[in-house]
């Protein structure tokens, strides 16, 4: 049975098993959308360069209806990131939140099941924001996540609260005994004047194929500050679609860095909806790909309100048979006068078989704006290479140094020191700088 047929069957099981859930209606609605759209094929403009539809001919399994912990703390220890000891840890296994494996250290931080939030004190916040990404991602894969809302969390950072510890989110897919379709889902509510750092990462256990379809939606209120880091360095048989949808509802600041180093198929959606005046957002990305790796970064910056500032810089290095895709959209709505929006995508191709497809896109409906985008695809700068070699540095090392230099301005955007050093080390290993 293909995954699609199985999904249809499984959906009815889920709905009847949780018939009293506060999420029934939204699941039903999303499932209808999914049935209409299906898994996006390359004919879908936003999926032109990333082929995932054929993966669904395989027989992935969705998680069982009852929570069953299949992994032990020891199993996931290898996924831990530096700074772990001093961080809140939210662990998802096969898409379901695992309180027993998670650690909440910070006073103020609340993490509760999404269905509880949807029926309790956060009812309105959930109603307004859960599934908000569907307005931007009109495809079956986004609908699929909402159709199977299960084991999802609501994370709350209350008014004026500066979290002492960062929040590390581990999306673990246990593919040791079966091919898994995991759909971790979260809704993050960062209230006025709150301050939080979130680090999200992905790890697959086992050797069978897995497909992770993760969605995080976030609301950021007035004067809040958010740092968000997405670290991807998973195995090559793991496929990942990772969506982060951030809506700024008050003058606030969001800083994101996406690092992609794995060799599997990765599609990232990062949406920044600037729904209030004077919002500021930064979107940085670095992707180093080799082997048959495929990395697709789709970003949307939607300037709904005036006087917002956004800056985006994505850099990529493609080796082997790797493919890089970048699609960056900037929308400036009619009311969003005085928008300042910048976007840049730079790529280096190292091998004969690597390729890059990039599409920086502007759609502007206001006249008093400053917007620019640029992109480059090329090889390492010959002049720089010669300069280094003329100082006695071997060509191989010179190349590594130049590539590292290329990556530095994104690396520097990781403000968490332990994390930055860790990523830097991974990159140095990849570039074999550590062997100098």
């Amino acid at each position: 049975m293909s995954t699609i047929d199985y999904i249809k069957e499984h959906f009815d099981r889920l709905q009847s098993a949780e018939h009293s859930s506060s999420l029934q209606a939204i699941r039903q609605q999303a499932f209808q959308a999914f049935s209409k759209w299906g898994i996006p094929t390359v004919k879908h403009e936003e999926w032109k360069y990333t082929r995932i539809s054929s993966l669904f001919n395989k027989a992935y399994q969705l998680p069982p209806l009852q929570e069953a912990v299949t992994v032990s703390p020891a199993d996931i220890a290898s996924a831990f990131l530096p700074g772990h000891e001093q961080a809140n840890a939210l662990v998802f296994v096969n898409g379901l939140y695992m309180p027993s494996l998670s650690v909440i250290r910070s006073a103020g931080l609340r993490v509760i099941p999404l269905e509880d939030a949807a029926s309790g004190e956060f009812k309105e916040v959930v109603a307004k924001n859960l599934g908000h990404s569907r307005h931007y991602l009109k495809d079956g894969i986004n609908a699929l996540s909402t159709a199977f809302l299960q084991g999802a969390v609501f994370m709350h950072v209350p008014k004026g609260c500066t979290l002492e510890h960062p929040v590390y989110i581990y999306n673990i897919t246990d593919a040791r005994s079966a091919s898994i379709l995991a759909q971790p889902r979260s809704l993050v509510f960062v209230q006025e004047r709150a301050n939080v750092e979130i680090v999200e990462t992905f790890a697959t256990l086992g050797m069978t194929d897995s497909f992770t379809n993760q969605v995080m939606e976030m609301v950021v209120e007035q004067d809040a500050v958010v740092e968000y880091y997405k670290i991807q360095n998973d195995v090559s048989h793991a496929t990942l679609v990772s969506t982060t949808h951030i809506r700024q509802t008050g003058k606030s600041e969001v800083h994101t860095v996406t690092i992609s180093l794995g060799e599997g198929i990765v599609r990232n959606n990062l949406n920044m909806v600037m729904d209030a005046e004077r919002c500021e957002s930064h979107l940085y990305g670095l992707y180093l790909q080799q082997g048959n790796g495929h990395i697709d970064n789709h970003t949307i910056v939607d300037n709904v309100s005036p006087n917002c500032y956004s800056n985006e810089l994505y850099k990529g290095v493609m080796d082997g048979h790797a493919t890089g895709v970048f699609n960056g959209k900037i929308f400036v709505r009619q009311d969003a006068q005085k928008t300042n929006a910048y976007q840049s995508n730079k790529n280096i191709l190292l091998s004969d078989n690597a390729s890059v497809n990039t599409k920086p896109q502007l759609e502007i409906f206001a006249d008093d704006v400053k917007c620019s985008h640029g992109c480059t695809v090329g090889r390492l700068d010959d002049e720089g290479l010669f300069y280094l070699r003329s100082r006695g540095i071997r060509e191989k090392i010179a190349r590594s140094l130049l590539l590292h230099a290329f990556a530095v301005d994104v690396l520097e955007q990781i403000k968490n020191g332990a994390l930055r050093q860790y990523i830097d080390k991974l990159i140095e290993e990849r570039l074999e700088i550590d062997q100098l």
Partner: protein, 254 residues
């Protein structure tokens, strides 16, 4: 030390060097002068091994080795240093890290242990004082946002760190005011000794007031058409390059 014989080079089919002959011995300072387009910078580039140029004839021996067979990095490790006319900016690579890599690569080539951080810093401090370069410059990305003078000073600092046998200064004075020229020239002079040599490539005589050459060669239309003592530079300054052009009209290539 350096012996160039009948060196010919071209770029994209265009002949630039049409038979250069030049001998440089340890301890000597040579100056190559010539009008724009005469091939001065090409000569510097070919010696350093820039791959845009095709060497179509002649030989170059450097310390007994066939220079033209060596890669640019091996030429550097053998002791040839080119101070670039336009030093390259490399955002993201700190000057310190760059020089440390270069110094240790050279040490490795000569069978020496790499310098540890302490020894390297000590060496750096020492050389910094020698060429009056500021610490803050070295922690910034290589040449990025440096002024013209800072870039050239950084070149001389690298020269101090790498202790070359032969330093080629390619139009090092271009874009510098007189104070900056003096500082750079002082740096070069401090680094001179009986073992090493300097080849100054310049359009103007003024740099030669500070780095006094033993020999001056006039490069014109791809050939050295005149050689003489340092006074030749003064003569060129007074009379301009026109008299050379008149004396040696461009002849058809045979």
């Amino acid at each position: 030390m350096l012996s160039i014989q009948n060196l010919r080079a071209e770029i994209e089919g265009k002949k630039i060097l049409k038979g250069i002959n030049l001998d440089i011995k340890p301890g000597e300072v040579h100056a190559i002068m010539g009008p724009n387009g005469s091939g001065k910078s090409t000569l510097a580039s070919v010696l350093a091994g820039r791959e845009d140029y095709d060497v179509t004839g002649g030989t170059v021996s450097f310390l007994g080795k066939n220079l033209l067979e060596l890669s640019p990095e091996d030429r550097a490790k053998e002791g040839l240093f080119l101070a670039f006319q336009y030093p390259v900016e490399i955002p993201g690579l700190t000057t310190t890290n760059f020089i440390k890599t270069a110094v240790n690569e050279k040490r490795k080539y000569h069978g020496q242990e790499p310098l540890d951080a302490v020894a390297f810093l000590k060496l750096m401090k020492e050389k910094m004082a020698l060429v009056n370069i500021d610490q803050s410059l070295l922690s910034r990305s290589l040449n990025e946002g440096f002024s013209g003078g800072e870039k050239k000073r950084n070149e001389i600092f690298q020269m101090a760190m790498l202790e070359p046998k032969l330093a080629i200064l390619d139009e090092t004075d271009s874009g510098l005011d007189i104070d900056a020229i003096r500082i750079v020239a002082n740096g070069v002079n401090k680094l001179r000794n009986k073992e090493n040599a300097v080849l100054v490539v310049t359009h103007y005589q003024r740099l030669l007031d500070y780095i006094v050459p033993d020999f001056v060669h006039v490069l014109y239309n791809g050939r050295i058409v005149k050689s003489g003592p340092k006074e030749l530079a003064l003569e060129l300054e007074e009379r301009g390059y026109d008299f050379i052009k008149n004396e040696f009209p461009v002849s058809e290539e045979v």
